[in-house]
């Protein structure tokens, strides 16, 4: 981010960079930087809160009136991540006992996914590798990897990390409809990883791939690094 700030300034553009990691924005020293202690993925802080977003922008734009740089200021309000908070939303009841629980679950979430897309659009859900219709089969492929099938033979429909992120996106998008409120940062991800069958299936697949000696780049990005 700050690299781009330096490049753009050299081209005659005045820049102000928001940063979410204090040590990084300090060390890269953009011409004008505003460190905001907000969760990763939310550089303006609070989704749906125009007043708060305007406060961030006002502070950032004020830095453009400084005669000299570099300067890095700290936005006064922090947004803490309650690392224990998990989104509370119901999962669909078991429908088809012939299916693996994770696959049955993925199918059962489709109405909620569609409701969320109708309301918010599909901005962060599926589409990197697979369409929504393909999610249950993709989940099945990770279930197979977790049970010992080599990942190249399990039918994962694309680059594993991309497919896993589409599955996570499908679930987290569905959760927006099930919870009917904007989750705090990471709450929906923790729900996916810690509460759902699909999240558990991907975690098992990641562990199986690591144990099989697969390259770290193949399995490391299946889920957030500390999950």
């Amino acid at each position: 981010m700050s690299v781009l700030a330096h490049v753009f300034e050299a081209a005659g553009l005045a820049t102000v960079a928001l940063g979410s990691i204090h040590s990084q924005i300090q060390r890269t020293a953009p011409p004008r930087g505003l460190y905001c202690d907000f969760p990763l993925g939310r550089p303006l802080g609070r989704p749906g809160d125009a007043v708060f977003q305007h406060r961030v922008l006002a502070h950032a734009l004020d830095l453009l009136e400084r005669a000299e740089g570099p300067t890095v200021e700290v936005f006064p309000d922090a947004i803490a991540d309650d690392a224990g908070a998990v989104l509370a939303c119901a999962l669909p009841a078991r429908h088809d006992a012939a299916l693996a629980p994770a696959v049955d679950e993925a199918r059962g979430l489709r109405p909620a996914f569609d409701r969320a897309v109708a309301r918010y659009g599909d901005r962060a859900g599926t589409g990197r590798a697979i369409a929504p219709d393909a999610v249950p089969d993709a989940v099945a492929s990770f279930v197979a990897v977790g049970k010992g099938t080599p990942w190249k033979q399990a039918g994962i429909p694309g680059v594993p990390a991309r497919v896993a992120q589409d599955i996570r996106g499908y679930y987290e998008t569905a959760a927006l409809a099930l919870a009917d409120h904007t989750p705090a940062a990471w709450e929906a991800t923790r729900w996916f990883v810690q509460r759902t069958e699909a999240g558990a299936a991907i975690a098992r697949a990641r562990d199986a791939m690591a144990a099989a000696g697969e390259k770290q780049a193949i399995w490391f990005y299946l889920l957030p690094a500390d999950s």
Partner: protein
Amino acid sequence: MADRDLKALTAEIDCPSFERPAFTRPGPLSLATVAVVTTASLHHPDQPDFAGGDTSHRVLDAARRDWVLGHWSPNFDTSGYAVDPNVVLPLDRLDELVTAGRIARVADHHLAYAGNQFELSAIRLDSGPAGAKLLVDEGVDVVLLTPV
């Protein structure tokens, strides 16, 4: 799983330093055209997604507002952007600042790059200057940079 732990994982990553950084003084903000450049890997659905290690950029049309997240890293929250794109690309807020007279104009086009990059020379020497030229050619004065 916690935000602070994920930040700690990246806090000590090597960062490039700039010995003689440029510093451009803008004119009055009330006369400025503002663009947003994000490293959130945003792109329109009909544009190619970012591949791993992709140092190129995508041009985002402000009029469409159908940008989707594309990112190799799973280490950031996506639900905020799913609900409100302004939390990453605050074009509605900038439009309101035009109405308020704080800035003159919001650019017609904005840029997205992929963050989580470790090899930055292509961005420094190629795609970064190319993106800057595009914005300069469109009359942009000020750039707000947002990460994820």
